[in-house]
């Protein structure tokens, strides 16, 4: 009982799984599932399909040349049973697997290293290219100025209508009240906008 490798995607083919195709020249082709089998029949090149191991190795997405990868091999000569040999082999297998996983992880980390900087640069570029999308501050300032204008007009009309009705302190209070109201409204606006953005995203 052996676990074979799929001819197309190199994934393990466990017993009772997949299909084996034997060609006229007596070469065997094992497939893990019908996806790989059908792709083979359509004569697709595994090196071009991104999800196969062959592509990943060929494109340098995974560790290719490493000494830990050379240990596993099909040896066609049977070895006489030796208990110590079996014990050491099993220990070695688990240890080699450990080392291989660590190296693969290191390789992956190395590959992903520059991503944060790239992303930051891309975002900066985006902000610079699209200034009109980020004019929120200007919009806020404009709206606040308009509101102040409206208030001032209203107050002027009141003054004209009833002279010296309000004392200075009251004016200050009302002014501050109106300002705080405006700020609250603007805060509310800001919150609304934020929510809108979140809903969209």
């Amino acid at each position: 009982m052996r676990v074979y490798q799929c001819h197309f995607c190199s994934s393990p083919v466990y017993p009772l799984h997949g299909i084996m195709f034997v060609r006229n020249d007596a070469k065997e082709f094992r497939f893990c599932r019908s996806k790989c089998h059908k792709a083979f029949k359509q004569r697709r090149n595994p090196r071009k399909l991104r999800w196969t191991k062959a592509f990943r190795k060929a494109a340098g997405k995974e560790l290719v040349v490493d000494s830990t990868l050379t240990f596993a091999a099909r040896r066609n000569v049977p070895v006489r049973y030796n208990r110590d040999l079996v014990a050491t082999t099993l220990k070695a297998m688990s240890r080699i697997e450990e080392i291989r996983q660590k190296r693969e992880r290191a390789f992956y980390k190395n590959r992903m290293r520059g991503n944060k900087d790239k992303k930051l640069a891309a975002d900066k570029k985006l902000v610079e290219e699209n200034p009109e999308l980020l004019r929120m501050r200007e919009v806020e300032i404009r709206r606040r100025a308009e509101k102040q204008q409206a208030k001032q007009n209203a107050m002027e009309e009141e003054e004209i209508a009833s002279d010296d009705m309000m004392s200075d302190d009251e004016e200050m209070e009302s002014a501050s009240e109106s300002e705080s109201e405006q700020e609250q409204q603007q805060v509310k606006q800001k919150v609304l906008l934020k929510n809108k953005r979140k809903v969209r995203a």
């Binding site: 070469k27 059908k38 004569r43 090149n45 595994p46 990868l69 091999a73 099909r74």
Partner: protein, 172 residues
């Protein structure tokens, strides 16, 4: 896969794989053997006009030439320039038999180097032009081929005449 695609890719309709064709075009003996197949009445063109890269038989030399200039053939030639995908490669990708795979890659490179050195010979063998079927069956070469044969002999006669003149000039 739809019904039509399934019909196209049935195993009984399967054509020759790329790694087998690669082996075909890699050695001179195999090219010679495939280009000079025995007369077989079941095959189109009695099996005489065979495109090695595409593994197809054609009716006569004219159709074979037209095929050679066409896109399908050129695409196939391009595909064959890459290293063929084998079981060893799929096993190596999953981490088994790595050393064997590396050895096979070395062999492939050596073979490619050898083919590159003898490029003209290989191409000449692959692009052999053949006479039409009547000539092949009866053994009597047609007019074009006779002219070709005579043409080569005429050229050699001209060369010997020139040599004779040059010698006379030297003598005198």
């Amino acid at each position: 896969m739809g019904r039509y695609s399934v019909k196209r890719y049935k195993t009984k309709r399967r054509t020759r794989d790329l790694d087998l064709i690669y082996d075909d075009i890699s050695s001179k003996e195999s090219i010679i053997k495939l280009k000079n197949q025995p007369l077989d009445e079941d095959k189109p063109g009695l099996g005489q006009y065979y495109c090695v890269q595409c593994a197809k038989y054609f009716e006569n030399q004219l159709t074979l030439d037209r095929h050679t200039k066409a896109k399908v053939h050129k695409r196939r030639v391009k595909e064959l320039k890459q290293r063929p995908y084998t079981n060893l490669e799929s096993e190596a990708a999953s981490g088994v038999n790595m050393l064997k795979f590396i050895e096979s890659v070395e062999k492939y490179k050596q073979l490619e180097q050898f083919k590159k050195d003898n490029e003209t010979e290989f191409e000449a063998l692959a692009n052999q032009k053949k006479d039409n079927l009547d000539a092949i069956i009866t053994g009597v070469p047609s007019e074009e081929f006779q002219k070709k044969a005579e043409g080569t002999t005429e050229i050699t006669e001209v060369e010997t005449q020139k040599q004779a003149l040059a010698e006379d000039a030297e003598m005198s």
